[in-house]
Symmetry: C3
Subunit: 159 residues, 3 copies
């Protein structure tokens, strides 16, 4: 089985790349979870964006009142957009970082702190926790991505 | 010609990776198409977001009335954002999945169902088709990405 | 040191891939910068989206007035979303393009024009410059990504 995998690609045999793979998948799944939470709040708060989504509530005015914004729905959507703005650079820069030959322990530190910070960020946004919880968890994830970008650029230019 | 390519990288010689390459490019192009559709509706509906975009319609109040939201423009923008929220995880997790050594037939099944589901989703959003068309096409794409993430995490942890 | 890197991966030794790495990191960092500019305008314009962000301005009505949208903040946010819509396809398609074996000079031309166009786009959006500055810089970046996608699909299908 190992041989079969190695045949198709050697990348997955690299320990740093395997760690990147696991953490990138976890944060992308966490980001995808936001869609389900948005759907949950849209349905329980009866707050939809498209007329065709409210058709099952009847026709005309009775359905139109569910075409509205709701504070809880908007909060999840802001969290989701913030994930896109931060997890996308992590996944992109993280891939280049994993290929730039970092020490395994340093790489794990980066991946784990980022993943932890973004999970905290989601809790801080959705509960919500008082500031600066959300601000700090955002800043930690941001700094980790920045640190990986620094290593990537140093490697790409100096090699 | 083949030798030249092989010299620069072996990845592209892997059949699963080549399939990933084609489908990832197709769904990313489909996502990019949403920008053109937004521009089309902004121009035909005369609904802009920035004062500098309406300057050609004259100065002062006559131009200011085109700084407005329009239902059709907003609908395309929601479809575009939904693409970002779903196609980005597919491209990221799909890359890791393609490197995790899946069977070619299984991989093709994943890539093709996802691509078909997202094209259907766009039609369901823009026409619009009655629900649950959009909901189902979204759910199918979501499930495919989830299934690839499961394979990726299993490979990253068990190897 | 070179040997150590080569051991972990050969990709980074490929000149086109190294160029991709540098430009992808630069445009992703540029995109991340939009978060800081948004935060700057939110704080200086006192325009926030979450009640917990205004808690330090006092309780009740005195804080509630800072829960508002601001033209400058919204402008940066539109620029940020436009980056997501355009830089994400560049990073994804650019990776596949870098692996498709292009000439180094052609690849550099693509990467540099895209990066320049997106930096211009940000200035055109934030200053703002009169149209068609923003429209043209957007179109140039779009065309570059499209050109790379064409090469990727040709390689994936014809190889």
């Amino acid at each position: 089985r190992r041989g079969e995998m190695a045949k198709s690609t050697q990348l997955i045999d690299n320990e740093v790349f395997r760690a990147y793979t696991a953490y990138a998948a976890i944060v992308l799944l966490k980001m995808m979870l936001m869609s389900l939470i948005t759907a949950y709040f849209r349905i329980t708060r009866k707050a939809f964006a498209n007329p065709e989504d409210t058709a099952s509530f009847g026709k005309g005015e009775s359905a139109k009142k569910y075409l509205r914004t709701d504070t809880d729905v908007e909060r999840v959507r802001r969290g989701h957009l913030n994930d896109l703005e931060n997890i996308v650079p992590f996944v992109g820069i993280g891939l280049l970082y994993a290929l730039s030959g970092p020490e395994l322990s340093t790489a794990l530190l980066h991946f784990r702190i980022f993943t932890g910070a973004r999970i905290l960020h989601t809790f801080a946004y959705l509960i919500p926790l008082p500031q600066p919880s959300r601000g700090l968890s955002w800043a930690v994830g941001y700094a980790v991505t920045f640190s990986m970008a620094y290593k990537v650029l140093k490697t790409a230019w100096l090699l």
